[in-house]
Symmetry: C2
Subunit: 332 residues, 2 copies
Amino acid sequence: MVMSEQGKDPEADMIQSMFAPLTLGAQGSYGLRDDVAFVPTQSPGIIVTQDQIIEGTHFFANDPLEKVAKRLVRRNLSDMIAKGGIPTAAFLSLAWPKSRDKADIAKFARGLGEDLADLCSDCPLMGGDTSTVDGPLVASLTMMGKPTAANGQPVLRQGAQVGDIIAVTGVIGDAYLGLQVRQGILNGRHLKDCLEFNMAPFPPTLDIAPLIGRYAHACLDVSDGLLIDALRLATASGVRIEMALDLMPISDEADNAGFPDEDERNLLLATGGDDYQPLFALSEDDFDAFVTAAEELDVQVTAIGKCVAGDGLALTYLDEPMDLPITLGWEG
Amino acid sequence: MVMSEQGKDPEADMIQSMFAPLTLGAQGSYGLRDDVAFVPTQSPGIIVTQDQIIEGTHFFANDPLEKVAKRLVRRNLSDMIAKGGIPTAAFLSLAWPKSRDKADIAKFARGLGEDLADLCSDCPLMGGDTSTVDGPLVASLTMMGKPTAANGQPVLRQGAQVGDIIAVTGVIGDAYLGLQVRQGILNGRHLKDCLEFNMAPFPPTLDIAPLIGRYAHACLDVSDGLLIDALRLATASGVRIEMALDLMPISDEADNAGFPDEDERNLLLATGGDDYQPLFALSEDDFDAFVTAAEELDVQVTAIGKCVAGDGLALTYLDEPMDLPITLGWEG
C-alpha cells in the first residue's frame, strides 16, 4: 500500500511529503505514490529482517520521536549486520496514536531518514503503510539486504564449530544500565552514555558486516542478553560454549558504576540485553585478521569464549567455574 | 527477528509452534528459528506490498480472529493481484494485546495459514516479529511476489492510454453494505453475503494476476472507493476517465437492498471502499480476450468506462451526466 493515498486530503499529502524524501529517489519506490514497490534483486536471494517497536513495551511514551525511530532502525540494522548483510530497502508500517499530533510524524520521519542515510549506507525507504490507532504507537520496519558472505547466504546461528573462538564487538551492558537509570533505580549522573545508548542503541558500523560475512561461522546480535543469545548460538550450532565472563567488554561508565562485586556486575550486565552487538564464532586462525581489520574501523572486538564439544553454556570468572543465573536474559 | 525466541520460555515456544507450520518448509525461513529470513529471488526484482490491520480502525474488537487474519492477508493479496504479482513470501509483525489470551494467537495463525495456502498459492510465512502491546491489536503483513508482466515489472497506476477501456472484476459495494449492517444502520437479514464480505473481503482468484500482467496498461485495487481509486488511476496516467455508473456491477443482495433510487444507490456504493477488486485499463482490442479468459476462471469482468484526453473523472448514468459527490471515498 502507499504510505499515504494520493487523494485530495491535505493531511495525507503531508504524511506523503514527510516520507517521500526518504526514498532517496529509488526508482522502484515510485515516490511512495503507487500501491507497491519494486525492489531490484539478484540471485540467489535477499536477507530480510522485521522488527517492531511498541510504545510501553520497547520505549517510553515521552521518548523523543527521533530516538524512537532510530531505535527501530537499529534493531533491524543490528540483525542485518550480524548476518553479514548490507541494507538495500526498508518498509515502514506505522500505527500512529490518535492522541498524538500528526505533525509529529515529521519527527519520527526525520529520525528514520537520518539513520537510513547515515548508518545504513543510504538505504531507501521504499514503501509501507501509515494508519491511526486508538492506543499506543506501534511501528514495524522491514529491512532487506544483500549478503556479503561468499556463499551468497546470511550468516546463521548455526555453523559454529568445535575449536572456534566466540567474540563480540563493542561493550555489553550499557543499555541495561541506562534502563536502570530511566527506571530510577540507578543515579544517572555518571551514566550519561548508558542512558543515551538505552534510548537509541549503537550497533557497530555497517562496515563490519563484510567482515562477519567473510569470517564468522555463526552469528547473532545480542538483543535479549549475552548469556541467552550465546546459548542460542550454541544450541543452533550443536556445540557447547565456554565463556570467560571476566573477559566480557564493558564501558568505563559501567566499570565506574560502583558495583561492589565485579563478577556479580558482569553477570547482571550479561543478562540485560539490548546491546545490539554481533556475537560470533570464528576460527582461531582468523581471529587476528578480524581484529586487525576491525581496528581499522574503530570497532573493538573481544574474544570471550570458545566452542567445545557438547551442548549448553558454561561460565568462568578468572578461570573459576561460575553458576549460570536462573534467568539468562529476556526470554520472550 | 525470529517470530519467537528459541529460549526456555514455553510461551515463546507455543507461539513458535503456531507459526512454524506456516513456513511450509521453505528453506530460507529456517523454521522461524533464526534472526532473519533468506528469500530466494531472481533479476530484475520483487514486488512488495505492506498493509496493516488495526483493531478499532480496520476491524471490530469482537471480530473472529481467523477473519481478522484473513482480512489482513486479503488486503495485501489484493494489491499483489492488481499489480500482476504472484505471492512468494510473507512476513508478519504482530502486536498482541496484553488483555487477550495468548492462546488465541492460534486462531489468528490459523486464518493466516489458511489464506496463505488457499488464496496465495502456498505462499510461505518466512519471518516476522511477535510482541505484546498494552492496547489494541496491530498487525502488519509484508507480502513479496514475482511479476507476471512480460517486462518483469509491476502493473502501475500509471500507464492507461487514451482509448483504453476501464474495467473492474467482481462486484462493488458489498463491503460497504456489510459495514452498514455491522453499524446497525441497515437490517442484515438479507445482506448475509455483504456482512461476510465486510469481515473478510474476497479478491478475485490469484489466477487473474497473470491476465492483469499480460493485458492491463494500469491497475490498482478498489480499496478506498471506486470513484477515488478511478481518479487516482486517471491522475497517475494523465488521462480523464469517463465512467458509466449504471454499468457498475453490484450483487443481487445489493440490488435487492431496497434503495429507492438506483443512481443514488450506485453513487453510494461507488464511494464505500473495501471492495478489493482490480480496477484496470486495457486496450479495447484486448477486452474480449480478457473477458473470455476471466470467464474460465469464473471471474466476472465489467467494462465501466473509458479513458479520454484530459484529466479527472466524469460520471454518467444512462448516458446522462451525473455530478461527482463531494466525497469520492476514503481519502486517508
